[in-house]
Symmetry: C2
């Protein structure tokens, strides 16, 4: 098999940990596999470089930031290649450019546009382990180095796996995989063996920190079999794959919790065509992402508009909405940042009824008031008071028998 | 004018020093000049990275070492560009690749083969300060990053100045320029205002540490006006230029001292054709550089062969020569590592006689025995006992009135 293995910052955080990574890569090679490794900067390095930049400027030129930050991953890839060669396993280190990763011009958060894997193929064919510096590519127009933003090394790994048509893309982190829910909240949480891309996307966007949404989306697009596992033990991780590759689909895969939510309530919104659109356009212009929206008819023809958003965008949202109150298009504005979103996720929901009603029953049994509800084919999300977060997660985990 | 300014590791050793460098670059721009800056890694960085590599391997793969080390200069160039932009002076950072520096395939000590200055020209024409990461280029065959070896950033600066046909290439270090001799030995030593390439080459190869020989050679080849000066004060430095640019040529420019010398004496070398060639070929094969050679006829047709070399190559040389003694082609081998080479340098010598005889007279007056002599058009070198080193330098400095 051809396997792409990605090791994050904590997995390569010290020289000794890089030794361990080398051993793990070699163990995979010894099993007869070809390996391409993608590495992050040693943990702390990127922040150190950002601090350096911060000494000179609050808003440094993005091309310079990318030139600066990309050095961190290059150091790790060179060191790992040196380690592998010393241990008798021929390896070559490659920058994002050498790995053929071309991006658009959005420096510091570039999008991968294409990959030319010819240099990687040549090295693999020559029997070498390829060690690619993650998180980086080159601007396809200027040739300047770009970086891919948060979770960028995962993205590099998935893109490389796709371009090489690798059999597997293993993302090594400090956790064992994806759990039915956060084990710190519910000790009976179990590691999930296999999960579909769509479910994983819900997990990722609903608060699970294992993988970034963009990496899962790209894996789905490129049909890359993604495994998330720990670099600190030998446990099998979680395979994220096409739904049809999962034989036994559970009704519910897990429970996700997002605490960093806030709710904005606009009451007495004037009844004129386009008012809701005006409000949400103003928020979108400021790059504020709105999650759930509920509109209810109030008295005297006016409506109430409730929506949720990330807590750290609440202040900005209020500033944008206050003019609507001043213009009397909205009677009053209130906000609540003591809320949580708890979600039930499972592809099995598609073909089974009764999943949602069990969630509502469970909340009722625990006397937890559901403020807002949003559903999709494969998830049910509920907004509740934050103080009930853990209770809700535990009750739902029990109700769907996820510990079985 | 178009000026290339190169700042070494100590000049960019801290964030505050990079602030100072930015101010110095801006001061030059304010005078109406266009500036291209070449920077080294922050002092200590390269050694840190080499230590990292040493953790994994005693003889790491050179391509990996270059990928590793080149990150240091990229960090500095990005930081300086960020600083300049923040201060309102548009700047761009460039890697060696972006600056168009192409080298041969000798990783870790690559030779610059060509420079394509088009990206630098475009940036300069757009009114920008270009900040180039020194010490690096790309292998013209593979596109892999290469590094240029010791003094590599100076070399980058000279090559860039040559390719851009810059009016001046300023090398900033922690010393004020080139002195008539080492000021720690002779307090009356004076800074030299102008010096020819050839004299500077003698100074560099005879122990002065200001500039590497290869940088001066390249400056001569490309007719780059080179200035070496301090980044810690505003003093004018030393201009290294074509001989014809120096109007008033002093008889003697300075006195150089090299202490790390050793002498090997082979006595009773057998009289057969090709024996000297055999001896020196064996040494050359082991990359041992021989400096002065003196052959004297002994009794019974045998000859004596004396030569000098770097002290740290003495052990290797002895190992190579012992078989000649064992074969009885050489009667005996002795060595002396308590010697120094003191040299009188000056282009004026070419057209003036009596310079050499004054040197010998001065040594005689001080009762210093001259063991070996070697002369060129512009220098006289003498091997003396090491204990007389300082005395010889001071006496010669006085004799040629270099403090005037």
């Amino acid at each position: 098999m051809l396997i792409v293995q990605k090791f994050g910052g904590t997995s390569v955080g010290t020289l000794e940990r890089i030794d361990n990574v080398a051993q793990r890569v070699i163990a995979t090679v010894k099993k007869g596999h070809k390996v391409v490794v993608v590495v992050s900067a040693m943990s702390g390095e990127t922040n150190k470089l950002l601090e350096y930049a911060g000494h000179f400027s609050k808003a440094p030129r993005k091309e310079d930031v990318d030139a600066l930050l990309s050095s961190g991953e290059r150091v790790t890839s060179a060191l790992l290649s040196i380690a592998l060669n010393e241990l008798g396993y021929p390896a070559v280190s490659m920058s994002g450019r050498q790995a053929g990763i071309k991006t658009n011009a959005s420096h510091t958060k570039a999008r991968i546009e294409s990959i030319d894997p010819s240099m990687m193929h040549a090295a693999i064919d020559a029997g070498k382990i390829v060690v690619v510096a993650g998180f980086q590519g080159v601007n396809e127009h200027t040739g300047d180095v770009t970086t891919l933003g948060r979770g960028g090394s995962d993205l590099s790994a998935v893109a490389v796996a796709g371009a090489l048509q690798a059999d597997l893309c293993e993302i090594y982190t400090d956790v064992d995989g994806v759990y039915t829910t956060d084990p710190r909240i519910e000790r009976k949480a179990k590691k999930i063996e296999k999960i579909s891309y769509d479910e994983m996307l819900e997990f990722a966007s609903l608060g699970a920190k294992v993988l970034q949404n963009r990496s899962v989306e790209l894996a789905k697009k490129l049909s890359v079999n993604l495994v998330t596992r720990s670099s600190f033990n030998e446990n099998e991780g979680t395979l994220i794959t096409k739904e049809e590759n999962i034989m036994e689909k559970p009704l519910v895969s897990g429970i996700a919790l997002a605490k960093d939510q806030a709710r904005v309530s606009l009451s007495g919104v004037v009844d004129r065509p386009g008012i809701a659109s005006d409000i949400f356009k103003a928020l979108a212009k400021a790059d504020i992402n709105i999650d759930m929206i509920v509109q209810t008819i109030g008295h005297d023809g006016r409506t109430n508009l409730d929506f949720t958003l990330d807590k750290n965008e609440l202040h900005a949202a209020k500033t944008i909405l206050e003019p609507f109150v001043a213009k009397k298009e909205v009677a009053s504005l209130s906000a609540d940042d003591q809320i949580s979103k708890v979600s039930v996720i499972g592809v099995g929901m598609k073909s089974h009824s009764g999943v949602a009603s069990k969630a509502f029953e469970t909340m009722a049994k625990e006397n937890i008031n559901i403020m807002m509800i949003s559903t999709s084919e494969i998830k049910i999300s509920m907004i509740i008071a934050q103080k009930y977060s853990e209770l809700a997660v535990q009750a739902l985990h029990d109700a769907y028998e996820l510990d079985k």
